[in-house]
């Protein structure tokens, strides 16, 4: 089991969700986050003054999958989120020790799907 964490451009979320659906990966957690990479990003201007803001709005996806789904998930995310520009984001793949469904008490691979 792996936990895949992807940081993507907020406006790419819909496209990523669509790709994930196509790959039949339906379970995910999404949150708004702030972060900074190496890009300058789109800064905002308030009353003519450019906002400094090193931290940029990003969307964070967390998806827990069984091993055989890892490549499909990564492919779906990169297909949809890649623009070729700096700031497209990153994907982290972590080993996942365990997983338990609260409702049934199922554990491990069964609980993930």
């Amino acid at each position: 089991m792996k936990l895949i964490i992807a940081i993507i451009q907020p406006y790419k979320l819909e496209a990523v969700m669509e790709e994930l659906d196509k790959a039949e990966i339906h379970l995910k957690t999404v949150s708004h986050v702030l972060g900074c990479g190496r890009q300058k990003g789109r800064s905002e201007i308030y009353r003519g003054v450019k906002e400094a803001g090193n931290l940029l709005k990003k969307v964070r996806l967390e998806i827990a999958v069984n091993d055989n789904y890892v490549e499909a998930t990564i492919k779906a995310i990169t297909t949809a989120a890649k623009t070729g520009q700096v700031g497209d984001g990153k994907i982290f793949v972590l080993d996942l020790e365990n997983c338990q469904r609260i409702r049934t008490g199922e554990k491990g691979a069964e609980a993930i799907g």
């Binding site: 406006y11 819909e14 708004h32 702030l34 789109r42 905002e44």
Partner: protein, 450 residues
């Protein structure tokens, strides 16, 4: 690149300067006209009420901004507010420069004459043909607020995808070529619909049919928002904002309708009472319809129904009594509910915030309703409708509505296509995905961390 970026703002600045220069030539002439006018008596109560009403109608445009703003996604809320506030700026100026003259200066049946350009001759004494007891400029500024909110209503149809510069050109042209003429036809001295006996108390034809039909055209010409081809629309990002806006609209509508009596008198009171009643009937009717159709009444549905009731009572407010206003408000919600929940999905146009479905439909219904329920017992200057023994009025109302629908449809279509030749009407797909707030105005409405 730079030169194209600044083309529009520089052009706008030049137009503004030229217009100011042009209007500076006439002031001597203006005073002459003011002197030659018969001295009518100004009534302080009437003047106070009309000024107050003008301020109430003013508030409707920011109210509309919040109403629409709450309904879009969070990345587009500022673009809606901006479009509404800019309409206040652009049309207010257009109105004093040429809009008022084209709309209200006595001319032929189709256009006002240009004598009142830059408010020449529009002075502080009454102009009896429109309002014999208030200064002419009070009438002018009251009408200015109508001219502002009408194009602002159309924003609901092209929300979340129209390019800001294209929007600016569109509302300027639309006011000049659609609003000003139709306003003259219905309300201006010499206007052919006015001479035909059309009754439109506060703008069912001029405001709601007009903007509603333009909305339908704009939605069709611009096409759907991205992501709305096969999925259900995204939920509104901030409904409390929408309810706040609806409250301000309802409040402002008292000025819109009761102010259209142009005096602090019985007709104003009648308009005030039927306005509130129709809004209430519309709101509760929509809630009940949803309860029956979907199992739960919603907040958004209830305020939408109230707005439908308000729009429908607008042309009738000074001509019908309170019982008919209940029916007008109630049926407004029924018709609009059908338009929004059945017709729109069936035809698949993306009237994003239902500007046509609510204002267009209830505008048409209201204008027809005048022909049914109008009564001389309420307003001796009006007419009797079908239910008071005068089927002819219904015929007049229907013809007037039909003409306005036809003109607004064809005219708005041509303007959209015309502007489309010179600039893209839509933002690029990327800009649409990023949101209009950042891509058009370089601002964001909300932060994540404080």
């Amino acid at each position: 690149m730079k030169s194209t970026k600044y083309q529009l703002p520089i052009f706008l600045a030049l137009v503004l300067l030229a217009a100011i220069a042009l209007c500076g030539i006439f002031p001597a002439h203006a005073q002459e006209i003011a002197k030659n006018q018969p001295q009518a008596k100004i009534d302080t109560g009437d003047t106070a009420w009309v000024l107050m009403s003008a301020a109430l109608v003013f508030l409707m445009t920011p109210g509309l901004a919040f109403f629409y703003g709450g309904l879009v996604r969070r990345k587009n809320v500022l673009s809606i507010l901006m479009q509404c506030m800019v309409a206040l700026c652009v049309i207010s100026i257009q109105w004093v420069l040429c809009g008022y003259s084209l709309s209200f200066c006595p001319g032929n049946g189709f256009f006002g004459s240009l004598q009142w350009l830059g408010l020449n001759g529009v002075g502080l004494t009454p102009y009896a043909a429109y309002a014999p007891t208030i200064p002419h400029q009070a009438f002018m500024i009251f009408q200015a607020m109508f001219a502002v909110i009408t194009p602002a209503l159309i924003i609901g149809a092209f929300a979340e995808r129209m390019k800001f510069s294209a929007y600016l050109i569109f509302i300027a042209l639309w006011s000049l070529l659609i609003y000003n003429p139709i306003c003259h036809w219905v309300w201006g001295v010499g206007g052919f619909l006015r001479n035909m006996g059309t009754l439109d108390f506060a703008g069912g034809i001029v405001v709601h049919i007009n903007a509603g039909i333009a909305s339908l055209v704009a939605a069709i010409v611009l096409g759907k928002r991205k992501g709305h081809e096969h999925t259900a629309p995204r939920p509104p990002h901030n409904l409390p904002l929408t309810v706040l806006g609806a409250g301000l609209l309802w409040f402002g509508w008292f000025g819109f309708n009761a102010g259209s009596a142009l005096g602090a008198n019985g007709i104003a009171v009648n308009a005030f009472v039927v306005t509130n009643t129709a809004a209430a009937a519309g709101g509760i009717a929509w809630a009940i319809l949803e309860w029956l159709a979907n199992g739960q009444p919603t907040m958004l549905g209830t305020v939408t129904g109230a707005i439908a009731g308000l729009a429908a009572i607008t042309p009738a407010a000074g001509f019908v009594s309170v019982m008919p206003s209940l029916i007008i408000g109630l049926l407004a919600s029924v018709f609009c509910f059908i338009a929004v929940a059945v017709i729109k999905p069936k035809f698949g146009y993306d009237d994003s915030l239902d500007a046509f479905g609510v204002h267009g439909i209830s505008g048409i219904w209201g204008v027809i309703a005048v022909g049914l329920f109008a009564s001389k017992a309420v307003n001796p200057l009006g007419a009797d409708g079908l239910f008071f023994g005068n089927p002819h009025q219904l015929y007049v109302q229907a013809i007037a509505a039909l003409i306005a629908v036809g003109y607004a449809f064809a005219g708005s279509f041509i303007i959209m296509k015309l502007v489309g030749i010179f600039t893209d009407m839509r933002v690029t797909d990327d800009e649409e995905a990023i949101g209009l707030d950042l891509s058009q105005h370089q601002e964001g409405a909300y932060t994540i961390l404080e």
